[in-house]
């Protein structure tokens, strides 16, 4: 049996408001592109509960609403911002099912057929989804409503009227309609809801609002609907009453109305309505095309002047982006942070030609998706950065999105280690001390000893592994163990363990490399116990400008300060300059 989740966010427009205004009560929104000021003849597109209680309705003109009440504030919001907010919710919802459909301006549908057992049941599934959305939206998530039913229409209806099927009193926003009970679930719902349900357009991608434009025929929906009005005149006011009507007469009524009026779903209204009344809705969801680049933005009314304050806002941004990444089963290889300054300050301090914003970025060695990992990586960079002027906005962009591959359980260690622990650590270290100081040693095929060792960044797949989205496991308490040492084979190393770069001059002639001679290395004096010729480098790397000619010697030295044992050193004589150098140690 098909199972679809509907997420209804009645006041989603708050998500698109500046942070300072998002908690205001009594707000009516107009969907107008381009930051146009509110005009008297503008149509109200969305209202919150407080504004509705004061008599403001969707579709009402601003002048009429103002005449009804003076306690409502009106804000213009670009439809693209609403679509962007819906895209954020869709990203999180994609973590519980697929495909995901978005309906303007407050509904997201996701097909969860056959996945409930992965979450421990349908109730646990909707709870998990509610928790993830809470992580994304913060306090704004308290108004959302989630319903699980046999089809998208029934799920939407129940989500709008969620009280009867609440999973628990503590979570009134989550409802689960038992399989096969969808017709019964909508029986007592008013037909008035059809007005909105039939008019919500499907959003196919992030650029929907700018591509198609939001014409007045599309939004806001009218409060009246000829079908509903006709049924109301006939005394049929609920879905249950409609279902118990004579089907033949009902069908003829609806078809007659269809020829007179234009419905959003005009060609199949009658057919769909009868199926809905029977508890069926086979309509496939239209997949929402996800954005290739994720970005989020925070605005500050009063400018932020210190990195510490910026870090506080940055954590919230990264939390939302992390929720979207994990919902999409993706991770990012790069984090870009753009700081937008107060232009007036910048002009005064640096002149007209100065840049009004700064961009920092962090390249991640492996794709990361958790908030804390992303935050630690960017924090190291931001703490060392000084703001040029008060910051009015900060934008985080994740431009190199990659698939977050699952990692199998690793049995090679006693303690369970989170798969992203090492990539996150390397990201943080590279941001703090520089990527050139972190890596793995690579042996290079070269005659010159100093060119035979190089520090390189770890290659993906050989050292690092992208971690999956999920909880970090706790390391269990275990007894302390003893780790025995590996008994190195009897091979003698041809190469020293430590190599000095550059070599240290000894200020000695080769004839002085004999037993009993003294050497000064750094702050210490040493006596040569033995000197053995080892190898000669001659005519190597002749195609370069630094073709060395060296005689290498193995020296056994004893320190004058601590005459307890010899030091095994590697020295060479430069045959061109006749100087001696210390090059390494066996240590």
């Amino acid at each position: 049996m098909r199972r679809v989740v509907a997420i209804v966010l009645p006041e989603l427009f708050r998500y698109a408001l500046p942070t300072a205004e998002s908690q205001h009560q009594g707000v009516a929104a107009l969907y107008v592109e381009g930051g146009v000021d509110v005009q008297g003849d503008g149509l109200v597109a969305a209202v919150d509960a407080a504004a509705r209680a004061r008599g403001v309705r969707v579709g009402m003109r601003v002048s009429e609403a103002m005449a009804r009440t003076a306690h409502v504030i009106f804000r213009s919001i670009a439809p693209s911002r609403i679509v962007s907010a819906l895209a954020d919710v869709a990203d999180v919802a994609s973590g519980v099912g697929s495909p995901v459909e978005v309906l303007f301006d407050d509904t997201v549908l996701v097909d969860c057929t056959g996945v409930a057992h992965l979450f421990g049941g349908e109730a646990a599934l909707v709870d998990s989804l509610a928790a993830r959305l809470g992580e994304l939206m913060g306090p704004l998530a308290k108004n959302l409503s989630i319903a699980l039913a046999d089809g998208p229409f029934h799920a939407r209806v129940v989500a709008h009227t969620a009280r009867s099927y609440a999973v628990s009193a503590e979570a009134p926003c989550c409802s689960v309609v038992p399989s096969g009970a969808s017709a019964e679930a909508i029986a007592n719902v008013s037909l008035q809801l059809l007005v909105k349900l039939l008019h919500q357009p499907v959003v196919d991608g992030p650029s929907w609002a700018s591509a198609s434009g939001l014409s007045k025929d599309v939004w806001p929906p009218r409060e009246r609907h000829p079908l509903v009005e006709t049924m109301d005149r006939l005394g049929v006011r609920t879905f249950g009453a409609l279902a118990s009507s004579n089907r033949a007469q009902l069908l003829s009524r609806i078809e007659a109305l269809t020829t007179k009026h234009t419905f959003a779903d005009s060609t199949k209204v009658a057919e769909n309505l009868l199926r809905w009344l029977d508890g069926e809705d086979p309509r496939p969801l239209v997949p929402f095309a996800r954005a290739l680049v994720l970005s989020d933005r925070a605005l500050f009314e009063d400018g932020v002047e210190s990195s510490a304050q910026l870090l506080f806002a940055l954590r919230a941004l990264l939390s939302r982006l992390s929720a979207r990444l994990r919902g999409r089963r993706q991770a990012t290889n790069r984090v870009d942070l753009t700081i937008h300054y107060d232009k007036s300050y910048v002009r005064v301090r640096e002149g007209e030609g100065a840049s009004m914003d700064d961009t920092l970025f962090v390249e991640l060695p492996a794709a990361l998706s958790h908030t804390e990992d992303l935050f630690r990586a960017i924090k190291a960079k931001l703490e060392a950065f000084e703001l040029r002027a008060p910051c009015l906005a900060v934008e985080v962009t994740l431009s190199r999105i990659a698939s977050a591959e699952g990692v199998q359980l690793d049995l090679s260690r006693d303690a369970r280690i989170h798969p992203e622990a090492l990539p996150a650590l390397l990201s943080e270290l590279s941001a703090e001390i520089g990527a050139e100081r972190v890596g793995v040693l690579v042996s290079v095929d070269d005659h010159r000893p100093e060119a035979r060792s190089r520090l390189e960044w770890p290659a993906d797949g050989g050292v690092l592994g992208a971690g999956p989205a999920g909880r970090k496991p706790r390391a269990p308490r275990r007894k302390k163990h003893v780790m025995p040492l590996f008994d190195a084979s009897a091979f003698g190393p041809e190469e020293p363990t430590r190599l000095l770069s550059p070599p240290v001059p000894l200020h000695k002639d080769v004839r002085e490399l004999v037993r009993g001679s003294s050497l000064r290395i750094g702050q210490d004096d040493y006596e040569i116990l033995s000197a053995t010729f080892e190898r000669r480098l001659d005519a190597v790397a002749w195609w370069t400008s630094e073709s060395p000619r060296r005689d290498y010697w193995r020296l056994e030295l004893v320190a004058a300060r601590a005459p307890s044992g010899p030091v095994r050193a590697w020295a060479f004589v430069d045959k061109l300059t006749r100087e001696t150098f210390l090059h390494g140690y066996w240590e």
Binding site: S412, R413, A421, V482, D487, A490, L499, S501, G584
Partner: protein, 274 residues
């Protein structure tokens, strides 16, 4: 099966292959670590090996002791054990870390010590960030062995041009933080310090090993005899190589006992060319 000893190891000392599976791995201590091939040093240590979830100090005069070789041997052992325990020859083994502020660790030496270089993360922090970096690395719990070089070698310099060893006066707090970070994990932190460097208080480590060279040639003979009994494949040994002989003195054990007086002269065969 031919070539297998009673303890489950092959006659040449390598672990039994995966397909044999003759029972529990013999020679293991609590926790499932494979028996050491470094028999002499293991026998000298209080618990039969290096402790896990603890900080161990390897102390030697600068460039004298084979502490770097000991640290690399520990890394190789951890990686080998990880491959053994995962039961899959494709496993790359546990990750190890090496903090090298003086930038002197040499890549070709890793292969000789059987260390998988792709599983050894080398970090070269400036001395000003050293404490913060090592604590962060320990807290990540991503490493089986974390080796920290606090002494350098004579003549080495950091990227800032400093030649001196790290001042240990302030490292008591750092060591405690390291110990807390690796407690209840299987990570071993190895601190390589200069025994001749002045310090007001000893570092609060779980185990301190003082590495010195054995002046007595009789120990060299004893080592040669032990090599005859060792698990190394004789055909692969190069007769011209003379291993160094080292004293390993347990200055402090897990119980906090600080030994004095008699030294435990144990010849430890670490094959470096003589």
């Amino acid at each position: 099966m031919e070539g297998l000893r009673a303890d489950g190891f092959r006659a040449d000392g390598t672990v039994r292959p995966k397909v044999l599976r003759l029972g529990d791995r013999a020679g293991e201590r609590d926790g499932g670590a494979p028996a050491s091939r470094h028999v002499a040093l293991d026998a000298a240590l209080p618990d039969g090996g290096l402790p896990r979830g603890a900080v161990v100090e390897l102390s030697s005069p600068r460039a004298l002791g084979a502490v770097t070789s000991l640290a690399l041997a520990a890394c190789a052992a951890a990686q080998r054990e990880a491959r053994f325990r995962s039961g899959d020859e494709r496993t790359l083994g546990a990750m190890c870390g090496f903090v090298d502020p003086w930038e002197t660790l040499y890549a070709p030496a890793l292969a000789h010590h059987a260390v998988d270089a792709t599983r050894l993360i080398v970090v070269r922090p400036p001395l000003g960030s050293l404490a913060r970096v090592v604590v962060r690395m320990a807290e990540s719990k991503a490493f089986s062995v974390l080796s920290i070089d606090l002494k350098g070698v004579p003549g080495s310099r950091t990227s800032e041009g400093r030649e001196q060893s790290v001042a240990l006066e302030r490292w008591g707090t750092v060591v405690r933080r390291l110990a807390i970070a690796v407690e209840h994990t299987d990570t071993t932190v190895l601190l390589m310090t200069d025994r001749l460097q002045h310090r007001a208080m000893p570092l609060p480590v779980a185990l301190r090993l003082e590495v010195d060279r054995a002046p007595d040639r009789s120990l060299a003979r004893a080592h040669e005899e032990s090599l005859e009994e060792s698990l190394v494949d004789r055909d692969l040994r190069r007769p011209s190589v003379e291993p160094l002989q080292w004293h390993v003195h347990v200055a402090k054990d897990r119980s906090g006992r600080v030994s004095s007086g008699l030294r435990s002269n144990v010849p430890v065969s670490i094959a470096l060319s003589g």
